[in-house]
Symmetry: C2
């Protein structure tokens, strides 16, 4: 095996040695000429999910109709337990599949603030995912609280020291993304959670970019609250329902602001007074989306087969390889690696900054069939998904990118994003 990373044989050798290489066949790959590097935005369709959805649609819904609710009613909990066990380092009964990440964040942040009456501040950072910031802004505005937004390092995100500097006895809630959506920075969950607790605050983690790509240790870190999505590394499909986690010891002390009937004790008695179930189920609201919940189950089972430690090892290897190629080929073309170089400090995606990132992104997609993501203002975000991305895809994608930029093939594209909506 050659040690020259810029030789394609090196990539082929890495694929050959990859213990997860056969899992790629578990996914629908109908356009083999496309190199898909956006699994951290929308994961691929597993074959098993296609079969499962066909069965849920045709048999559970189409044939068995309302009687399927006997099976469906516990599914958000069952799938929550799977996520807890295989991906989050959490205990049974601590995770439930429900709503969207944004709605879950709203519910948990509101509940946390109610549990810290008198405290007037929420802490987050300016590189936290937009919806997290907006949700917290809305809650702060409604309650007249102070939102302390750390100006975080754009590559490494907030360090424990940065966080410590804004914590005091007025802080009720601390909320960060475990892996930053843009830079890929992986925060120190244990240290930051400890700091929040030392200040008497509750800690809420957004796991959207870490669940399924890096091991999460919610119990070991003593995390209070967490939310995350399932359409990225969990491969559950566009807009599949999110999950939420509430530490067991806190559950019965917290109450959702949205008192829905799926959180009601003895739900079908349809009693007059709201009386929330014990446990994490009180954070359910309306009728759970069964197709989506079932897709989450299949996605998690596939990740469980791979094993989160294997996925993490491959994620580190893929991003390491990507960064080496970027250093060799792209740095001379004006690209900068905008993701931590220390693998212990990053998740499974890499951002490259370039002043022409938007046009380059368009050209990469349209001329070379490579699909990354653009993130404002100047980032190419490249997310090789450990469960199905090959090293040779990373090689070929960056090779095409180099050619494209060398030849300025992006010049014909608009320099600024059109509005998507």
């Amino acid at each position: 095996m050659t040690q020259d990373v810029t030789n394609r044989d090196h990539a082929l050798a890495l694929d050959e040695q990859d213990p997860l290489r056969e899992l790629r066949d578990e996914f629908v790959i109908d356009s083999p000429d496309v190199i898909y590097l956006d699994g951290n935005s929308l994961g691929r369709l597993p074959q098993a999910t296609r079969r499962r959805l066909d069965q849920v649609i045709g048999e559970e819904w189409g044939r068995d109709l309302i009687t399927s609710w006997e099976r469906w009613i516990d599914r958000p909990y069952q799938v929550g337990d799977l996520i807890a066990e295989h991906l989050l380092g959490a205990r049974p009964g601590e995770v439930v599949v429900s709503d969207s990440t944004s709605v879950n964040l709203y519910k948990l942040a509101s509940a946390a603030l109610d549990a810290r009456p008198g405290r007037r501040a929420i802490v987050t950072d300016d590189d936290n995912f937009p919806t997290d910031r907006y949700i917290l802004q809305g809650i702060a505005a409604q309650r007249g609280l102070e939102l302390r937004v750390l100006a975080s390092d754009p590559i490494h995100g907030p360090s424990p020291a940065d966080v410590a500097a804004v914590l005091d006895s007025d802080v009720a809630l601390v909320c960060f993304s475990h892996v930053a959506y843009r830079s890929g920075a992986l925060l120190d969950m244990a240290a930051i959670t400890r700091l929040a607790h030392d200040a008497g605050a509750l800690m809420l983690w957004d796991l959207c970019h870490s669940a399924g790509s890096v091991p999460v240790r919610l119990e070991a870190c003593g995390v209070d609250l967490a939310v995350g999505c399932t359409y990225k590394y969990l491969n559950a499909g566009p807009g599949a329902p999110a999950f939420l986690y509430v530490r067991r010891e806190l559950q019965d002390r917290l109450r959702s602001p949205i008192w829905g009937w799926f959180g009601q004790r003895d739900q079908f008695a349809m009693g007059l007074e709201y009386d929330p179930v014990p446990g994490v189920g009180r954070f359910q609201v309306g009728t759970p989306p069964i197709l989506g919940v079932s897709a989450v189950e299949e996605g998690v089972r596939l990740l469980a087969r791979a094993g989160i430690d294997q996925l993490r090892a491959k994620g580190v290897a893929l991003t390491d390889y990507l960064i080496r190629l970027a250093d060799a080929w792209l740095a001379p073309l004006g690209f900068e690696v905008a993701t931590p170089r220390d693998p212990q400090r990053r998740g499974s995606h890499v951002s490259l900054a370039h002043p022409e990132a938007y046009r380059i992104c368009r050209a990469w997609i349209e001329r070379y069939r490579v699909i990354p993501d653009f993130r404002a203002p100047d980032r190419l975000r490249i997310g090789p998904a450990p469960i199905y991305t090959r090293f040779v895809e990373v090689y070929d994608a960056l090779d095409r990118l180099r050619r494209l930029v060398e030849n300025k093939e992006y010049a014909e594209y608009d320099a600024t994003p059109a509005r998507v909506t």
Copy 2:
């Protein structure tokens, strides 16, 4: 054609004359021996939806991956417009598909209260659907408001006079179900909305049991706000996303309590400050569930083919027929019709009260393959869906029910519901 309703030929003749009879073939009916009378809880699977979901899963997600967001991003609005036009009597841009009914009710009720500062009361009724009552209880508790819960007539629901009696200048919001989930009572939307407005309050209707079964005239009635689900008469599948309506003139004055990124102007700029889009889209929150939204589209297209006025006419005929058979066969066995007899005052389902309703329900399902719903404490709820239920199914179902009760075949079943969860 015989005029004797208790003669099965009468049912067959009604089916023969039914202008919607061919639409039944548009649904998956894999167990023809089952008589399904719970379409008002979970509608059947349309053939077109099965095909469409297969395409959305395999092609849009599996093959086209993230690039499909160009198509998906507007789908919640497009399907909202379809619902508005064909089912709700609302204008384009007034309806969007989003979240669950419960979450939508929370968003709209909260926004309404913010728009009526200083007013301290919310009005609803004790037979409103449980989640509506719980959501409003939660909001009232959080804000220290008074929840005025009308003790409504269990068959006819609150009349305009009942509502007028509790309205005053302290009421910010009035919220009822257009068709009551249990009795099937259809409220006078125009009159009650007018009363709410006369008192200076905003009016929020829950359309879960009316959308797709009775014509709704939101614009003509000057309704401010509405929510509704899609897994009943819209046949969009278990836990499919709900819709919400905000009257055009109000949209830019109202703000969701949940500031999600799908309600953000220039969403993918991912700017620091929340700045909601103009229009109904500001009530979107997280990433919309695309499978569910697509299923809603197919369900609505099918209802549009039938036409809401035709559906209503058949709904009246089916429930009328059902009530006549109940009078002839079931009244002597201790059943009471617990639904308005005046077709102008009911939706498309009928409740029959019987002290042994729970056991009868179990026996009807297990021994006779008829699927109704049980609703606490003593109701059999029977929902013939105009788009696919045949008159002869109503005949056969009630014929079996009569036999079952005459022979006390329910005696071996438990008299009280086991907890479903």
